[in-house]
Symmetry: C2
Subunit: 183 residues, 2 copies
Amino acid sequence: MARTLLERADAIPLLGEAFRTWGFEGASLARITEKTGLGKGSLYNFFPGGKEEMAEAVLAEIDGWFETHVFTPLATAEPKAGITGMLAATGDYFRSGNRICLVGAFALDETRSRFAIAINSYFSRWINALAGALERRGHARPEATALAEDVVLAIQGALVLARATDDPALFQRTLARLAQRLG
Amino acid sequence: MARTLLERADAIPLLGEAFRTWGFEGASLARITEKTGLGKGSLYNFFPGGKEEMAEAVLAEIDGWFETHVFTPLATAEPKAGITGMLAATGDYFRSGNRICLVGAFALDETRSRFAIAINSYFSRWINALAGALERRGHARPEATALAEDVVLAIQGALVLARATDDPALFQRTLARLAQRLG
DNA sequence: GTCTATAAAGCGATAGAC
DNA sequence: GTCTATCGCTTTATAGAC
């Protein structure tokens, strides 16, 4: 069934890379074409809504990945395993600190207004899923929520600092510290 | 001596607002003109190097502000006062969570390559100044460095999450938690 | 389904009048 | 020092050939 060189689904991770590299505004169709190998014809065939639809598809795929590998395990697995799995999945997804969080990046400037619901939902569900697991581990409600917030923001902050100081190891150190704190 | 409606120095905070709102790529000269009230003639008179020089001026001003209000107090004041002052200054500067960190935002995409030295220096000096104060408070070297990293990344992460979830109070809660942790 | 050509608008930057 | 007009280029998006 592979009628095209690249299926729509195959293009989405490459689109994500383009947006991560250049930001939403900076990711021009020329750069997207270069990164994906898809001409404008193919791109508009797959994503009639243009750049905005491409970014929506990327955010939806990210959301799905975290739903599968992070949020659902946190909600359904044994809490300790869910939390350990979250840290491992997070380390993998962000390439041990070599990859930024696109959702966080989109949140910082006016790009946020285009995707506000997806952005808010991603972080809210992450924090809530983690807080739930912490409650099931015996933390009282307010402390569980506070700790969950603290963990998710530490991951985001570590990604910012790792990139800013060109030191991916800072992200890995942070994950290790979080593992201790949650252990 | 106020020969122009707006001096170069007065324009810089407005330029910072424009870059914070739209990002470096998204901040077009049209939007910058709108935000500052300065026409292209005045902008290129003040900043012959164009947008890049405008952003450099903004980063330099941010750097100077933190040098004065955060890094120097951390290095020279009594450690406890320096740390308390840092948290208060940080809360003020980031408007209690209503303002993002432009340096962190620039770090995330390819904008970083234009300003890599300024970005790296800002965060490195912040972490080092804080680690120094913590050492003088009695923390052993490695723990002081780890804690300083943890605090600065928590501030960055809180700014990302506060904006992503449209909840500035999250930033304020984080500062309060850091105050306890450092108290 | 993918290509090239093209449209219309916007971009950063410059020139020259005032 | 600030304005308007304009340059040359890039942008997103579309149209039409294949």
